[in-house]
Amino acid sequence: MPSAIAKSGSQRAMLGRATRDAFVKLDPRKLTGNPVILATEVVAALATISTIAAVFGHQPILFPLQLALWLWATVLFANFAESVAEGRGKAAADSLRSARVDTMAKLVDPQTGATVPTPAHKLEVGQIVLVEAGDAVPADGEIVEGVASVNEAAITGESAPVIRESGGDRSAVTGGTTVVSDWIKVRVTAGAGSSFLDRMIAMVEGADRRKTPNEIALAVLLAGLTLVFLIVVVTLVGLGAYSGVKLDPVVLGALFVCLIPTTIGGLLSAIGIAGMDRLLKFNVLATSGRAVEAAGDVDTLLLDKTGTITFGNRMATEVIAAPGIPEGAAMRAALMASLADETPEGRSIVQLAREKGVVAEAPADAVSIPFTATTRLSGLEVGSLTWRKGAVDAVCRHLKTERAHLPREVQAAVDRIARSGGTPLAVAEGDRLVGVIHLKDVVKPGVKERFADLRRMGVRTVMITGDNPVTAASIASEAGVDDFLAEATPEDKLRMIREEQGKGRLVAMCGDGANDAPALAQADVGVAMQTGTQAAREAGNMVDLDSDPTKVIEIVEVGKQMLITRGALTTFSIANDVAKYFAIIPALFVVSMPSLGAMNVMHLSSPESAILSAVIFNALIIIALIPLALKGVKYRAIGAQALLTRNLLIYGLGGIIAPFVGIKVIDLIVSSLHLA
């Protein structure tokens, strides 16, 4: 589904803006949150000063100049990565902003009932406004009166209008959407500046971006590593002096930059922003990065049965003929009894009959017998012929018989259907019971596989339903959920979330109703449906613009992907250091201690070339990994151990090998161009 926020400006314009931003971010004050890159910038500045000194001291400048330039490039590349990630959000925010037009609202005077034109931004919470066909909804609110179809394309990207009405779970409207037909009276629930649209803009733009708990933890580790390598390099001055090795401060700076985790340090914030962006692509808005991260950690997923696991309507799956009745006749009777039934159940019977090749038209003189609370039957009469269908007891009453007197085969079929969680409907033709229809909740295709995937991810699925335990158990086993909560009230839901959390589990759920709000607020990841009530949307920490409850699964994957990407790049970054040591350490010492030349395993052409190649590799690897940081490492539901083995091989072992190859190649180029 194309979404307004997924649309963004042209690639070229975005890259242009990112490049510009990369230079703006050179301001050291903007780098205080990123010690690794800040340290790199300090070294780059020192290298620049030393190059200038070399100019005045009439010393060779080609080598220090190149080092300084590549060190600056390292900082710029890291800034560029962040800017590119932010750029996507900014483009989305711009297109959202265009939806925020300042309309004149029709404020309803509480005394007179007359409407007063008021600018939308002057509306206050609690005021009532009238919105008629063609008007833009001036603010977020709850419908208090009326029903209207509303075009929400500005928010969801979906152009088909949706029905909004007072009362119930479809009563929320969003500022910026447009009423297409009819009118509604709306009680304003959000003041100017704090509307849903404003929050969305702030979120996608990253204005609100705070470091997530895991990002903070990782930043601590990276700062610690930076400190360790600072000590290693600084103490090398003393140890080198003892050993009679003369060390060029610029080269020591270069060694320092190569060792500190610039790769992950440069890409860390881009990974987080890209994670939010990926959710946006799924048309899901997270109120914070913390929520996205929590999604990756979810242990228990609560899913409403209706609409998520099953289609929501019971459907006929078979018709069992009573003894002595041919199968075709039973099917035909069921069809006749349902021809006039417009309920989803009735239509599913017609559908089933058509699939079995039984077709019939209701004659013109047919009289439809509607369902009533007293008879609890529906059917059709054509002249003296009558067809009825209904609950088994109701049909028994109609046939003036007792359930116990029904044929044994029929009783067995009814029991079997009930036990399997289905609903048996008896069909009578005239005064004869001809068969039993099996109505059942049909599980959506593919959900079983998705739950199996979730289980492999370590996520337990729990089905929530108002059905009785027998029905619930049967659907639960068919859908392959791990657990279910039958005859659930909103309080039960809330209690279950608290229980799970008490066991130290993280719980995700989605909901739309006003009575879901407490549970949504309690859950660690609460996904509210965009079509849901205002209360639900406020309570959740994510909003699904497509209102598709199965989306929770994608959300969990995006959360996991974000963590995996961080771990993979950290591992890669640390593993890279092994090769860099083998490039730089022999180069540093070989002049004073020729025997250490034996450690130059890559056979780099000269000490200068070795150092320069390591620095160039270090800078280029950031650019090379930007796409991976933005796209994220693919998550595979293959179990934790297999996944780790895979990623360790790629990013751990790969991280050890890649720089050996990369530095050697760069060294060949550098030496053939006589750059060092």
Binding site: L221, A223, A241, G504, A640, N647
Partner: protein, 568 residues
């Protein structure tokens, strides 16, 4: 190298682990305050201690209270020991009439024994009275070991807790560890050592009449009792200056084997006990396996390196295999290799050879073992919390790659835990490299260094590594009894001990307060081969990255020089 050598290495390591197992099971009982078969004898003694000091052993302490008690106890121990060492000339039980120690030597020695390091800038037989040895050093040999074990117990309880607030009672842990664990095991082992020929007497020396008719005084004393707690408590401070290369500390192959086993048994025991208390038996087993793999690797590296005769000697035709340089004739290369790996892996510091005379890579491996953080299996207690810190960092880095906030033993590893783990691991490189770099350019410091060139650098690096790692072994060649070395090494020992314990205890407090989670299919398993490999890899890579440049300037360049026979 021969198969007997390899078999000896395997036997020694195997027996240490094998003995560590029951010791660990027993230790877990003691930590949990359950009954033991020693209760009839020891329970009244234990109660007496509590009654005398007014301690309520059942009163749990939060991490700060626990840490406060530990620091206060160790500070008091330091001052008392300092006074004894300074004043030993005025005190009884001083048959040789030794004078009190100089201020800097007493400072260094007191810190050394309080921190479970047992670095010795002196020779015991010519410096210390029996009172100093027994009531000063031996007491600290027990209680410094017990302090380390207490921290391990607190950490184990932190992992076991589910939103807990307390980590146990330090005073109870200290008392119970000393009474129920260290004392009984020491008594048993001391008797075995005496049986194998180690002296145990209050006499100062024996007069021997040599063949030439001269009279020679041979130093003896309460050796066996100090020897055994030196090993069991991974202290390492010898009765004699030559440490376990001295024939009275370590007379023969039997005593050698017993001492080797003793210095690792309680360390492995701590890991096993941790696993039982933290309800993580399989994970603890994985830690033991990782330790053993690295120990075997180090033993093999030293063995391989120490059996090879240097090219220069070979060329000159003055030496033939095996290379006996730096080894005792009664032990030989394999025994010395496995001892050296075990003593440096375990933060014990007792030596049965002369590291100074090892080949560059043999001595370098020993130094690298210390720099890995004394976690293989490390000092008693300290090794356990050291390897848990490494496990937490491994889990954090790699665990992210499975797509969940990393967990270790059911506890989420988040910013606070990472912060404390990083702080703890920073202590080693900061102190070792910082002090070594300053010493390397300080003329006062360099006056004490006997060798020049890379070998001298190794001497200095080794000294600080040994001090910070609370190992206590000396590379040799360094005259450390000077104000500069005594003071800086003393500071290094204190940092390596307490600047490490503080973040570890803070981490324990944070971990205890978290809910204990049940593993799911999405949780990274931390008991399998994969995790063992990961942990070993991280330990080696982190250790390597931190110390590669100084190692290159020290043992590595010396090795290449040796190969090209341009030795100084």
């Amino acid at each position: 190298m021969n198969w007997q050598g390899w078999a000896e290495i395997a036997l020694t390591l195997g027996l240490a682990v094998l003995l560590g197992w029951p010791i660990g099971v027993y230790m877990a009982r003691v930590w949990e305050g359950r009954s033991t078969w020693l209760d009839p004898v020891l329970r009244p003694v234990e109660r007496l201690f509590y009654a005398a000091s007014g301690v309520d052993p059942t009163k749990g302490q939060g991490w700060m209270a626990y840490l406060g008690a530990l620091l206060a106890f160790n500070a008091a121990g330091f001052f008392l020991l300092y006074l004894i060492l300074r004043a030993q000339g005025l005190l009884p039980l001083n048959p040789m009439h030794f004078a009190g120690m100089s201020p800097h030597l007493a400072f260094n020695t007191a810190i050394s024994f309080v921190t479970n390091t047992n670095w010795q800038s002196y020779s015991g037989e010519s410096t210390l009275s029996n009172l100093s040895q027994m009531s000063g050093l031996t007491v600290q040999n027990f209680v410094s070991a017990a302090s380390g074990i207490a921290v391990a117990a607190a950490l184990a309880r932190a992992f076991a807790a589910n939103r807990g607030e307390t980590l146990g009672n330090f005073w109870a842990d200290l008392t119970r560890t000393t009474l129920y664990i260290l004392l009984p095991i020491s008594v048993v082992f001391a008797i075995v050592l005496v049986a194998s020929g180690v002296p145990q007497t209050l006499m100062a020396h024996i007069d021997a009449h040599t063949l030439e008719g001269a009279k020679q005084g041979i130093s003896v004393g309460p050796v066996a009792s100090q020897e055994i707690i030196k090993q069991l408590g991974t202290n390492g401070g010898g009765f004699f200056g030559a440490n376990s290369a001295h024939p009275f500390e370590n007379p023969n192959a039997w005593s050698n084997l017993i001492e080797e086993i003793a210095m690792n048994a309680v360390g492995f025991g701590c890991v096993i006990a941790f696993g039982r208390v933290a309800m993580a038996g399989r994970e603890a087993r994985a830690l033991v396996i990782a330790m053993v793999v690295l120990l075997v690797g180090a033993s093999a590296a030293i063995y391989a390196s120490e059996t090879r005769v240097t090219p220069a000697l070979l060329h000159a035709g003055v030496a033939a295999a095996p290379n006996m340089e730096g080894k005792e004739v009664r032990f030989g290369a394999p025994s010395t290799a496995v001892w050296t790996a075990m003593t440096t892996g375990a933060s014990d510091g007792g030596v049965n050879g002369a590291l100074e005379s090892f080949t560059p890579l043999g001595g370098g491996t020993a130094m690298f073992m210390i720099k890995l953080g004394e976690i293989l299996p490390g000092g008693v207690g300290s090794g356990l919390y050291g390897i848990v810190v490494m496990a937490i960092i491994s889990v954090f880095v790699a665990g992210l790659m499975v797509g969940r906030t990393p967990e270790y033993l059911g506890k989420k590893i988040e910013a606070r835990e990472v912060k404390y783990a990083v702080l703890a691991t920073l202590i080693l490189p900061v102190t070792i490299l910082g002090f070594a770099a300053v010493s390397a350019v300080s003329p006062i410091a360099l006056k004490s260094v006997s060798a020049t060139g890379p070998h001298g650098l190794t001497e200095m690096l080794y000294a600080y590594a040994s001090a910070v790692g609370n190992n206590g072994s000396a590379f040799g060649g360094l005259n450390a009894n000077t104000p500069w070395w005594d003071t800086t090494l003393g500071i290094a020992m204190a940092l390596g001990r307490f600047a490490y314990i503080v973040p570890v205890m803070a981490m324990a407090g944070a971990l205890a307060a978290k809910p204990k989670l049940q593993p799911t299919a999405g949780t990274l398993p931390t008991h399998g081969l994969q995790f063992i490999g990961l942990l070993i890899g991280l330990i080696l890579i982190l250790g390597g990255l931190q110390y590669f440049p100084p190692l290159a300037l020290g043992p590595i360049v010396e090795h290449f020089q040796m190969l090209s026979a341009v030795s100084h």
